[in-house]
Amino acid sequence: MPKPKITEVLDTLSSRKSVKYGMYSTAVIVFFALILLPPILGIIIKWNTMQQVLIQPELTSRALNAVANSFIIALFVSAIDVAAGIPMAWLITRGKSKWLNVLDTVADIPFIVPTAALGYSLLLFWSEPEGISSLFGSSLVSPGWLLVTLLHFTFSYPVVVRVVVGALLDYKKEYEQASRTLGAPPLTAARTVTFPILKPSLIAAFILAFSRSISETGATIIVAGTLFENGPAFIQKITDDFKAVPPRMDQLTYEGSLAFASFVLIAISFTIFALIRILGPKLKLPIKKIYPTFDRKLSYSKAAFSRDSVTLLIFFAIILIPSLFVALPAFQAISTETLPNAISGVGIWSEYWQSLILSYSLGAIVTIFNVIIGLPMAIIAARRKAGALPSAILDLLVNIPLIVPSIALGVSLKFFWKETFTFMPEMLLLIFAHLAITYPYFVRSMSAAVERISMDTEEAARTLGAKPLGVFRTIILPLTKYSILSGAIMVFTRSVSETGATVAVVTTLRTAPVVIVDWVKQRVAVTVTPLEIGLGCGFLILFSFMILLALRLIVRGRGRY
């Protein structure tokens, strides 16, 4: 088979040291210049403005309070996620019913629904007269901390289930069987063997849930009500104050508050992640204590049955039905004027469609950029191309954007770019912000995939005469095809859902979740009807779902993301 000329040339080039190092160092430089340094420098640039906040004790304590709320909810929700996610993952992987496949797919739904739509859906279900509250005559859960907690539980739970399911599927069941043959009832076996072995995955699941919770902005604003504030809601509110005509806040206080809240969010986030990293491996699960009779009682069919029932009940009543409740007004809208209006793009709908197009093109652009700049980085991290220690440090640094609350990231990015390039186009700023937020997701999933390819395979290809790029084309790419796609799906969904960083960096451009958040706010003033919001959410969900379904079909039967 004659090789096309161009790949031949590239293959040959790729074996030159200078080309190889050139490519890898470009990836590293891009990472530092676009992803890692701007947010850090952004805060430093505005360091002095924080003075302005510290001299106003009331504002300081309001900001600190809001930040504290963010972390309390994130820690609480992640803990509950893990506790509730384990039985669900167990049921999905170990149950025997045919329906589990369906359940497995359904468990991803809240994950796929963009969070702004999810927030509105929950608001309708828990507090509006149309929802569950209709059974009680009054609002069952009013907007506020409880609803925010429910919301965060809803969108982070599927993430935890996904991670734990993956871990359970990879887990060698023989350990558990060995434990059983040595006399341990099922619960003891799970407690003393399975979960201690899976501990790293449980910690990873906790961290993922945690980072999603501290970053979530759009949906949180929708369900927070007027009194409750967490970090992102605080930043959003003072931004509204500043932008109001006439402004309710001067520029210096505004920038100071942003810098202060962002800095505290980032600092505490760092501390918590560092603590998890250091203490996590030392964390002892309760494996020392053995309770033979108690464990036995809880192990067998009756107890297992009630455990499964409670798990399913929680899933359907607290996660699934509230997530999909928005379908109700969306369907109602279909039989009214709203649908034709929407389709012809009349009034508010013209902006809606523009925002939808913006959201999806932004998602696509960010995904493509991620693949281009993330792949070489993933290979560096997985193959220790930069030497053992620098590669390990890079690996660590790559994860940093993951633990920075996205609104704080957006705030400092804006500080940096506006300060350095005054004429920076807003679209570019938006792309940079989304890139910074999604970059770790892609690099992580890719580097894990590359690590799974044994070095032997690669070396075998080299001994057979493949040049480095040839190895990449013929070995790494085909073997990681699925991971590239699943990484891309993750990046895309994350970008489409992202509200915090978006509102932080842009003033005129509006993405779909931003528009929905706005609509929900204006609903009080009756400029936008509930049916319209419902339909808006419905379209957003529908299109996201279709895109994901299309991507999923491409990798049909090749596992999960």
Partner: protein
């Protein structure tokens, strides 16, 4: 002090019948092997006995107790996995005393048991090492010690030596047998290595495609294989095809391919039946061409391989069949490549089987 009775047990995985209507009785304190080629259902049968999976049909008794519905933790068994399955998050010592601990024994008793079993497997150093830091042989000892510490009377071993290199394997196989005899355990040992099974077993069940073909002592299986497959799988056999020309009392006259006629002792064959004759390589008698005796076949030596203890001849018969003959190298005379010889064999050393329905090649294929 359990014996194990398996009665008409069947286990299917979807369409695959992994174990088909198997019945076995393994005696108390016996060292019993399940032997067969890969995929024949040995592991499945062992896991059925352990209770890790449940039979679709049939009953399993341990001692006198029907255990079909008893979970593995209540069967008082010790299971040694092929990959050992040592708990990676516990050091060697904690692996060993895991059984006593989950059974609710106090620490003092668990410690005593731990030291006892470690004494048995003769391992005293590196107890604070984690499994990933241990050599294969040590992991194997820890795996056995862990199974013993749980107080098992029935030891189930799934290819316990499969992961070890040849030398360690040969040493450890006798040790496992010794331990199980010292502790008066019943042991069921799964292997696909016939020499391993022959070396250590009291009795062996030879399995193929989910069925037990023959049960017997190593000697019985070797001397009296009851099927072409067992003749092939246990030791080595030459297979010659032919049909029954004539029968007379117990002596049957057979014509092999190419017109060679031999007679053997057999009661069940009828005239005209297609057969396979199995002869062990060492059962042949080789003579110079000049002499002639009963069951003699003409051939010439195609290849000679010196193997140390033995010399191995590949001899082409007149009918173009190739037979392998093994002779002790220090006894008798040697023959050279190209030499014409006469082969014969004693009547009672040849086994005659009806020609397998699926064909000879297929019948002895081990996949």
């Amino acid at each position: 002090m359990p014996d194990v009775r398996i009665v008409n047990v069947t286990k299917k995985f979807g369409k695959i019948v992994a174990v088909e209507n198997v019945s076995l009785h393994i005696h108390d304190q016996e060292y019993f092997s399940l032997l067969g080629p890969s995929g024949c259902g040995k592991t499945t049968l062992l896991r059925l006995i352990a209770g890790l999976i449940r039979p679709d049909e049939g009953e399993i008794y341990i001692g006198d107790k029907l255990v079909n519905d008893v979970p593995p933790e209540d069967r008082d068994i010790g299971f040694v996995f092929q990959t050992f399955a040592l708990f990676p998050h516990m050091d060697a010592w904690n692996n060993v005393i895991y059984g006593p601990k989950v059974k609710g024994f106090d620490m003092e008793k668990a410690t005593t048991i731990g030291h006892e079993v470690l004494e048995m497997v003769r391992l005293h150093e590196r107890l604070d090492a984690f499994p990933s830091e241990l050599s294969g042989g040590m992991m194997q000892r820890i795996a056995v010690a862990r199974a013993l510490a749980a107080g098992a009377k029935l030891l189930l071993l799934d290819e316990p030596l499969g992961q070890l290199d040849a030398k360690v394997r040969n040493e450890l196989r006798y040790e496992i047998r010794r331990m199980s005899k010292d502790l008066e355990l019943t042991a069921i040992h799964v292997t696909h290595d016939q020499s391993e099974a022959m070396a250590i077993s009291d009795r062996i069940a030879v399995m193929k495609k989910g069925k037990v073909l023959q049960i017997g002592t190593p000697k019985e299986l070797y001397m009296n294989p009851q099927s072409v497959f067992v003749a092939h799988f246990i030791g080595e056999s030459n297979f010659l095809e032919g049909y029954v020309l004539n029968e007379n009392n117990n002596e049957v006259l057979i014509e092999l391919r190419g017109g060679i006629r031999v007679s053997v002792t057999n009661k069940t064959l009828t005239k005209g039946e297609r057969i396979v004759l199995a002869i062990r390589p060492e059962a042949f008698i080789i003579e110079k061409e000049t002499e002639k005796s009963k069951n003699a076949m003409l051939g010439f030596v195609e290849r000679v391989t010196f193997e140390g203890t033995n010399i191995r001849y590949e001899v082409r018969l007149e009918n173009q069949d190739l037979v392998v003959i093994v002779k002790p190298s220090l006894v008798g005379e040697w023959f050279n490549t190209g030499e014409k010889i006469i082969l014969s064999f004693p009547l009672e050393k040849a086994h005659v089987f009806a020609y397998p329905d699926v064909g000879l090649r297929e019948e002895i294929a081990v996949e």
